[in-house]
Amino acid sequence: MRIALAATCIGDALFPQAPQAAVRLLERLGHEVVFPPGQACCGQMHVNTGYLDAAYPVVRNHVRAFEPVLDGEFDAVVLPSGSCTGAVRHQQAMVCRRAGDDALARRADAVSRHTYELSELLVDVLGVTDVGAHFPHRVTYHPTCHSLRMIHVGDKPLRLLREVDGIDLVELPDAESCCGFGGTFALKNAPTSTAMLADKVTAVKQTEAEVLTAGDYSCLMHIGGGLSRLRAGVRIMHLAEILASTLDEPVEVGGPGAHATEGSAA
């Protein structure tokens, strides 16, 4: 398949290891990955903060970048994020209609029908759960709110993780409860957000995992920021990074910093 990667704004600017890993993984599985260079952001941050007018040009740019999927230029669009996928499916058309652009709303809807979150693409579209990954580490998985309750990925990420060779996958207590990120909620209601984060960090530590994984780097940035502040010694990694890791090209968990994958990819 020819798959267009939407890197997500946060993946592009702050956590390139996630889209890089998605590229390595999909190419390893025999697919061609393209990166439409006009892409920037899905518009979710603006929408969720109430700036729907300001979201409109952002959404328009996203739709324009990925609408070649409608002409068969690529077969699918993949997003390594549950919440961005949710925004594409449940917010973009509404933003366009509100701006009076019904034509764009229809195109946004059409593009969204070809857009998949990473675990959806792998399990539902490509039909794989064993992606040939090797990752000999203790890992716990946080199901992010939007992947769980907005796009309903269910246990797809766990089915993928369970097939990873060498993994020691442990259940996260109270996994389905929100980490307290909520986009600008983390700033507008920082004390409440922090109270939620404290409980999530405690749950992660209880698992004695080396790695906390999830399908969204936004939530991981929040939980990881708390873990790092407390020097908890738990590494955050996107699901794609674990699935991209192989015996020949392992993704390292040791070593300092969050960008160890930068050199290893490619």
Partner: protein
């Protein structure tokens, strides 16, 4: 009613929320009230325990219903249909209540409703009334208004009694005293009830017995009762109250006069519609399969029950909410409080942080719509932001109110009003700048190169401290330093 020692008491138990002038607008913005609540260790423990217990109970009994999702669809559809035909159905209700010997009154707002009820009580000559637990009368501050007119209102729901005795405000729709534990309740009873046994323990059965004895005297002497209503059937004029203790049933059957105050959205078209809601409500609210006391009455039955029945139909902002084609979904609410019990924000900050008698996710969308948001400084303007949009509320709502979507809608209304009044805000400027950058791949790439400067302030790959407003993040969390090679550049150099 102010029963005893009043606000001068030094006992910390009695540091309840003072009675607000407006029951739907207590005064503090949500972030301020939440910050104070977060530091209350006793509250945090009480809430954590209570919400996790009731969450588990609900999940258990909902899980055993094979057609639960169909029931939710039916409940949502019935409520949507009712709201679409509300004026016509209300007139039909009035017709049928009147035909069966009741009297219907219409109240535009809290002041009108309070005046109508006061007048009705005064006409009976009573200076005491017993009350069935009711959100509508909380919403209008009826107890306080009656007290100011020399009429004592006695709450008979156990949790409402606790709140009233402590001179406090409710913090939950179903369990108004959820912020109290049994040790606190024992102290409140001992100090404020007047007739609590001296050796009262904090055993739940002993506490319930003390309340039972205390309330029994009121039931036997009261001549006027005031209730709310869970449902009203337009086709038959039947009112319904759903409760767990039987105290409501006492109030609805023993006194001579019954006055019911009901929000106009509580309507269902026909009697058989109750079948859906009486399945949805108990499992969603108390986690029970069937509701213990379901009282239904239609007008007046000669020689049986109250002989004088008045129904006060309350608008109080509902018509305004109904006029908003997205916001109106909040009027489907059947006050089960499932959304409160699953909300991670409510679980940490409790009900008082929402500064309204309607707390939690439903309060965050209902309160600002009922009051309207008067100005940018209106504390209710902060309510739609009191959520991470995690979606747990929508998942459990028995009438499928898409609370996250309504929250975003109300945020957008808030932002648009600022914009329309040309009121510049820091958020607005930041969001417009971000929109310019994030709507173009090249501008995004340029911004990524510029943000690389962030690496200067990082140590070990993490930014640990930033000046305001970045400090809102770094106050409690690190931020990874921007990478040397953003993805866009990596792609260009490697593919």
């Amino acid at each position: 009613m102010s029963t005893a020692t009043g606000p001068t008491s030094t006992n910390p138990v009695f540091l309840g929320v003072p009675h607000p002038r407006e029951p739907l607008r207590w005064g503090e913005p949500f972030p301020t009230a939440a910050r104070a609540a977060l530091d209350d260790a006793q509250l945090r423990r009480n809430l954590g325990h209570a919400t996790s217990t009731i969450r588990a109970k609900r999940a258990r009994v909902v899980g055993e219903v094979p057609d639960w999702e169909d029931l939710r669809d039916a409940g949502a559809a019935l409520k949507a249909r009712t709201l679409a035909r509300l004026p016509e159905l209300l007139e039909r209700l009035e017709e049928n209540v009147t035909a069966r010997g009741g009297v219907v009154h219409w109240a535009r707002d809290a002041a009108e409703a309070n005046a109508i009820v006061t007048d009705l009580v005064e006409r009976t000559g009573a200076d005491e009334v017993v009350k069935v637990k009711s959100m509508a009368t909380q919403e209008i501050g009826l107890d306080e208004h009656l007290a100011s007119e020399g009429i004592a209102a006695f709450e008979t729901d156990l949790a409402e009694l606790i709140v009233q005795l402590a001179d406090d405000q409710p913090s939950h729709i179903l369990v108004p005293a959820i912020h109290r534990n049994r040790a606190e309740i024992r102290e409140i009873f001992l100090e404020r009830m007047g007739d609590a046994p001296a050796h009262l323990t904090d055993d739940p059965a002993a506490l319930a017995e003390a309340a039972r004895v205390h309330l029994r005297r009121k039931f036997l002497s009261a001549t006027v009762a005031i209730s709310g209503a869970n449902f009203a059937v337009a086709d038959t004029g039947t009112l319904a109250v759903v409760e767990s203790e039987g105290n409501g049933r006492m109030c609805l059957t023993l006194p001579q006069t019954l006055i019911t105050v009901m929000g106009i959205e509580k309507l269902v078209p026909s009697f058989e519609d109750l079948e859906v809601f009486l399945q949805l409500l108990p499992r969603s609210s108390t986690g029970e399969r069937m509701n213990p006391y379901t009282s239904l009455w239609t007008g007046v039955t000669p020689g049986d029950g109250p002989q004088d029945f008045h129904l006060v139909l309350l608008d109080n902002g509902r018509s305004r909410a109904l006029a908003d084609d997205v916001g109106r979904d909040a009027l489907r609410c059947i006050r089960c409080s499932a959304c409160l019990n699953v909300c991670p924000v409510y679980e940490r900050v409790g009900g008082h942080a929402y500064q309204s008698v309607y707390p939690g996710p439903i309060g965050a969308i209902l309160t600002p719509q009922l009051t309207g948001v008067q100005s940018h400084d209106d504390p209710n303007a902060t309510l739609p932001y009191a959520s991470t949009l995690c979606g747990a509320c929508y998942e459990v709502c028995p009438v499928k109110i898409d609370i996250p979507t309504l929250l975003v809608h109300l945020r957008a209304r808030d932002v648009d009003e600022d914009h329309a009044r040309h009121r510049p805000t820091g958020w607005g400027a930041a969001m417009r700048a971000a929109s310019w950058v994030m709507s173009d791949g090249r501008r995004m790439g340029t911004a990524e190169r510029a943000s690389g400067a962030g690496r200067v302030v990082a140590r070990d790959g993490q930014i640990r401290s930033l000046p305001f407003p970045g400090s809102l993040w770094t106050g409690a969390r690190d931020l990874p330093a921007p990478p040397r090679q953003p993805f866009r550049r990596w792609w260009k150099e490697n593919r």
